[in-house]
Subunit: 277 residues, 3 copies
């Protein structure tokens, strides 16, 4: 599909770098449309040898990808196509993350705002993440909805930080700011807001300009961890919690309390904790 036909993604290309700007107001919820377009792009770029580096950013400086669309609770078939398309052993959200993690291109997330849940899992599946100090944040807030992350976070985070920090992130369910995310190993670096664009642009251009074969060799020199067993375990645990009444009640309560609006998302964790079921 031509770059100009995406409705939620703006794609620009220069010197081997494709910059993908996510633009799905009000808060870039990961709904079926955004997921379909991103999936389509990630598939197409796998075969595009002229593109060396992918930089993902958000049109909204406050939100990168909010999280998976909560209205899915009322439209359980919205993701059916993704279930059918997912490789054996992966649920559709895990398959989505793996499509990013297994890219032959170098994938970089430039994070200026907040990414939660499935949005944070997308971030964790990228090769590199650079985030804006004092502004960017990452959260796996699924626990506040009665579930655990089900799109790969338990496995991705375990590869990046100690088990104790992973448990703090998942069970504490708070937004982790860029500085702490750097210390925990979740991201490459937290950078001053004013330096982030310049740093990522230069890095992406430099990598795209490397002689032929270098990117592929570096990626192959340290193969990706095989996470299939972990994904199965994560999915089983996630699915059994999602089937309980608490999860549905919490999600419905959150939507009624203005989740998925610009205001409601500002402190989604407190919104979820205050729900009176």
């Amino acid at each position: 599909m031509p770059d100009t036909e995406y409705s939620r993604l703006h794609i620009s290309r220069a010197n081997g770098v494709a910059t993908i700007t996510i633009d799905s107001p009000p808060v870039n919820v990961l709904d079926a449309v955004l997921m379909r377009e991103m999936r389509c792009f990630l598939f197409s770029v796998r075969a595009d040898e002229s593109t060396k580096v992918l930089v993902f950013q958000s049109a909204d400086p406050e939100y990168f990808i909010a999280h998976v669309d909560m209205t899915l609770i009322d439209d359980p078939h919205a993701f059916d196509e993704f279930v059918r398309q997912a490789p054996a052993g992966l649920n559709p959200f895990q398959a989505f993350g793996e499509l990013l993690r297994e890219q032959p291109r170098v994938t970089i997330v430039k994070l200026t705002g907040v990414a939660r849940g499935g949005g944070a899992e997308f971030v964790s599946a990228a090769d590199m993440v650079f985030a804006s100090e004092g502004r960017a944040g990452l959260a796996q807030c699924e626990a506040l909805m009665g579930i655990i992350p089900g799109g790969g976070a338990t496995q991705y985070l375990s590869a990046r930080m100690t088990r104790g920090r992973m448990l703090e992130v998942i069970l504490g369910a708070d937004v982790i700011n860029a500085t702490t995310a750097e210390r925990y190993g979740w991201i490459n670096r937290a950078l001053p807001a004013a330096e982030l664009d310049g740093f990522v642009d230069r890095l992406a251009r430099n990598i795209a300009a490397l002689p032929e074969g270098v990117i592929a060799a570096a990626k192959q020199a340290v193969p990706l961890a095989d996470l299939r067993e972990g994904f199965l375990r994560e999915n089983d645990l996630w699915a059994s919690l999602f089937a309980r009444p608490a999860a549905e009640k919490l999600v419905r309560g959150a939507l009624k309390a203005d989740a998925q609006t610009k205001d409601g998302e500002r402190n989604l964790e407190d919104l979820l904790r205050r729900l009176d079921l």
Copy 2:
């Protein structure tokens, strides 16, 4: 055993959080009594579904758990009961750590002072550790007694930091302050002293308030590493060094030089290095 019958532990419970205050003056040495009571508590809480989170703290802001009681050298049978009770393949100190590490509850250490040796191993066996900047410290000072850590540290530290940092901790044998411990991955975070209580209290309450099943699922999603082979190797190495004359001489020298007193413990490392054998 009822909470009020412990002599070295004060236990308070509220909202699913049990707070265990270690109080064994002068410096919370890990002697047979403290070990027995902690063991008893950790066993009982495994079956107590109403308790979700355990917070361990010390009544003495300067010392968390000093280290294993050095007078054991004159009472080699003091720990016999623990030898009998330890699962196959674990020495009693490893078994003690594993009783904490394998808790189904979420275990949090709030560290305001220093923990050395077996005390530091207790800290490392907890799920999460938050420590007071400028005050808290951790040390594996066993090398200065002619041995290596024998209660799990070689394995616990290797899961949390690079091998080079682990070797620095064990062979350098100095107190590692909270800031460095955070950088090394030994603890979750170093926090300003004034914020530590509030941070841990809020985190513990939030986790205890999570919907049913979430804690268990998060813990199961990333199973504990199997450390049995490492424990066997650690124990063999530890035991062969402990059998040498140097260890006994150093421990006796340390006791004579006021180890296990409030003053002597202030700089236990220098006390041990100055011993003239």
Copy 3:
């Protein structure tokens, strides 16, 4: 070979600590002579029970080991002896790193300047690294020469940092300063320049003074990772890139543009990026 007969190494010994000062002007290039002498020293010290700790430093505060000698391109047989001596499955540069990594002694690098390429791999193969804030730097700049690191870096770095940071180091190919290297886990600590000597001297003396058997036990308690499969993969990828014309052109271009001189090395990365082939 007696300590005084080395031409590129100054070796001093005191209290169980051997201090090895690399002195091969103008920038400590890792040429066949330096490699032969270091190899000879590392072999001899394996059997020297009286030496407990090795501290490596540079006579030039600006450069530790620049990188492997680029003039190798015109003298392809210069390293033949190392090829013959390398254990099966290792190329000569990997074998060189392993000779350091597998030392029974405690190995410490004191880094005041920059180490790139094979020099950075030497640093990564040491047990511990302490570096000068604001002055020291590490770089795997091989990508700018059309290759990936071939002397162990892909494996050594993967054991010390997340895959995303390893890819940033190798593909970004920039100098990583001491502070970032500490955060990434590449080194133990960045220290203020004025404190570095005192810190390392004290640590080395303290470790060398430990009772008999403690060093060996600590090193054995957590065995070295088996990297053979990774080394084979790294070498295959490195060799296939090195055989392409780009690598030779870039190396020749760099030498013509004053690489391997004090000035040319100051910003070797930009020098390489500006080459017009």
